[in-house]
Symmetry: C2
Subunit: 244 residues, 2 copies
């Protein structure tokens, strides 16, 4: 059976996943494109259903519940300009805020979803498995999920109030990115630490700044004031890795 | 005098700058927002005119020729969703393709304008002043200019055919980013070299790969296949800097 109406209750619920409120209420998020869907399935995410457009001709993951939508209904649930025609509805990973297992990352007020996603992608690559998000764009938004590639499946993403996140980091050295800090490439980080990165525009919040044990900077040409937040987080994550 | 019509010849010419063809024909590009305009003026770019919206209340750079547009006409020349109301028309820097003055960057087939701009921004910060662009998104597009911050004013951007760019790099060691290369963090780069970076999807072109003297990689968790192109270029530029 093909659902063609955008007024169909399931289509309405799936399109509500485009917004944070809808994701929270339903407890799921949407992953688009064959590659990402395959990765979600392969890495054991709780995939609730596969959503395909009626003309979709690729892999359909037949072991999973599936719903088929007409072109207009699929477009209503998709966030892509030119959707591939396949998506998966995946349960939001519920992550209790807890102390980190190793080196970790605290994102402080990053509001650009594509930057948040790209940073999550880099965090997984660089071995920062625990990612704390204070006052940031939702990492499960379509833009962030897409930019993370499959990073949102692998990182342990913890969203919460600053106080709650900082409480979980009690006893963990916090190394914060700041223009006035020490050269990150000459600084030797301990084995367990938290790298804190603020937004491009506003920098660190006063609470995170007050908690920082150390500040580090990326050495830069004098004509440059700052770097893109995802680029600078990536450079710092690698600069502080001790296990080259 | 305020120009209100979108059919006004100047408005039509300025809005043609949104496309590469228009920029090439007119030999200029548009820089938006007070901060970027101020930087363009301060660093001696050839600013042809300031373009302001009639309700704009900020700095207007009175020493320069100025044109005032109505809201609709300004929106037609702007690429911003919520324009500040000020822009500058700046002459495209004409850069003869020549050998690099020091460490430099070759971008090979990068089609995302925001990534190209973010990379130019990082290149200036990291001291890769000469940037060669082969088969890339135009760095003077609005998205790229915005992402570069003022990077497009400071970097020496050279666009050309691969053969021409590679000819200018004769005798310069080319160190190319590739998954199969040596760990970039243990590799010691010479003082003058060219870092070559390919696209996320397709990697390096056969021509650039054939020219590479060395390949380097960013060490990554096995679950990660790649990083965002701007993030990975940034990490590599800093990994290969010899002068920390």
């Amino acid at each position: 059976m093909v659902i063609v109406s955008k007024q169909n209750p399931l289509v309405k619920e799936l399109s509500a996943l485009l917004e944070k409120k809808g994701r929270r209420e339903r407890g799921t998020f949407l992953v688009e494109g064959e590659k990402m869907v395959r990765e979600a399935v392969a890495c054991g995410m709780d995939v609730r259903r596969i959503v395909v457009r009626e003309d979709y001709a690729g892999e359909t993951f037949d072991a999973l519940p599936r719903v088929t939508l007409g072109g207009g209904a699929f477009a209503a649930v998709s966030s892509e300009k030119t959707p591939q025609g396949i998506a998966a509805e995946v349960a939001l990973p519920v992550r209790e805020v807890r102390p980190p297992a190793g080196r970790c990352l605290l994102l402080d007020g990053l509001q650009d979803p594509a930057n948040v996603g790209a940073i999550v992608r880099t965090a997984v690559a660089a071995g920062y498995g625990d990612v704390y998000l204070a006052d940031c764009a939702d990492p499960f938004s379509p833009k962030s999920v897409r930019a993370s590639m499959s990073g949102v499946f692998f990182a342990r993403l913890m969203q919460g109030a600053r106080e709650e996140l900082l409480a979980a980091l009690a006893g963990v050295p916090v190394i914060a990115a700041d223009m006035g800090g020490e050269d990150a490439f000459s600084f030797r980080a301990p084995e367990v630490f938290c790298l804190a990165v603020g937004s491009e525009g506003r920098g660190l919040s006063p609470e995170v700044r007050a908690r920082a044990d150390k500040t580090v900077r990326i050495p830069m040409d004098a004509r440059t004031e700052s770097l893109n937040a995802a680029v600078s987080a990536g450079i710092l994550m690698y600069a502080l890795r001790t296990s080259y």
